[in-house]
Amino acid sequence: MSRYAVNSLLYRLKKDPDFRARFEVDASAALAGLDLTEAERAAFVTRDRRKINELGGYLHLVMSVPGLAAH
């Protein structure tokens, strides 16, 4: 589990609309190659923001990434 991996990904989803669009179309593909544990990857693929928060994702980021908030 890496606080940096989870949060830098949240940050990118928040700030980079192109990356977010790719994530929305195919989350697994968008995350390919990123240094995430299986649990972290699964939490993002299922848009499980509670799990992402448990894994170290900052609350303000988790709550402000469009697309996560809706799930």
Binding site: S8, P17, N53, Y58, L59
Partner: protein
């Protein structure tokens, strides 16, 4: 809101040359590239943060002015004398300001002109944060700089009282009114030592993480006693409007 607008009227009546605003960043101004513990905004102007898909808090920014003048001299002196005094402050010429700065500033001023600002960021929630003691002592430093200069200066700190304990999503909605009342009691009594001795952990557990911003202000105004204008238990957050008048 009414109380904050009235506080703004009283602030304007003192005709400040500069207004220091202490608030925390919500990973808007800074990224994981660098998370400064304490950062002074220098330069001539500061811009309002722009963001697509703004969250509710930042949507309110849309109606506010896009650019604000800074008080260059005061900001530079806080920074330079701070480094001399052993505060390893970060500096920024480019970081924009978000709702944490602009909502209170605009609510306080309405349509009246806003004095030149000195925005100061405190890292309130990306662990490890600066300690309450360090924030308070930095506030003491600000007071010394202001006392040694020719300006009349106002200072505001923003941030909620208890909310989002442990920054845990399932606990959004919980507050800690008992702890809030304790903080308020100390501020009203001008008892700043127990506040200075709070632990970052204690603030994290109770959801008082943004109180670090208040600690900078308390250091700047100590030993003045707080006058509480408003205390409210909102659905997700407890808030207070608190005022200090200095002779």
């Amino acid at each position: 809101m009414t109380e904050i607008a009235r506080m703004g009227e009283r602030l304007t009546a003192t005709r400040p040359d500069a207004l220091i605003v202490v608030a925390d960043d919500h990973l808007n101004a800074f990224s994981f590239n660098a998370v400064p513990a304490l950062c002074v905004r220098i330069g001539r102007t500061v811009q309002r943060m722009k963001q697509d898909h703004a969250e509710a808090f930042d949507k309110v920014l849309d109606h506010m002015p896009e650019e604000y003048p800074l008080h260059e001299d005061l900001a530079n002196q806080i920074l330079e004398k701070g480094l001399d005094a052993g505060f390893d402050l970060a500096m920024s010429w480019e970081a924009p300001v978000d709702h944490a700065f602009l909502s209170p500033v605009n609510t306080m001023h309405g349509t009246r002109p806003i004095p030149p600002l000195v925005p100061i960021w405190v890292n309130s929630f990306v662990a490890p944060q600066p300690t309450p003691k360090r924030c308070f002592d930095f506030g003491r430093h600000i007071a010394r700089v202001v006392a040694s200069g020719p300006w009349k200066v106002g200072i505001i700190a923003t941030g909620g009282l208890s909310h989002f304990p442990e920054l845990s999503l399932p606990r959004v909605g919980e507050t800690d009114t008992v702890f809030d009342r304790k903080l308020i009691h100390w501020m009203e009594a001008g008892e700043h030592e127990p506040l200075r001795n709070l632990g970052v952990d204690e603030l994290h557990k109770t959801g008082e993480h943004e109180f670090l911003n208040w600690m900078v202000l308390l250091g700047a105004v100590t030993p003045a006693r707080a006058q509480v204008r408003y205390f409210g238990e909102l659905p997700r957050i407890n808030l207070a409007a608190v005022e200090w008048s200095l002779p």
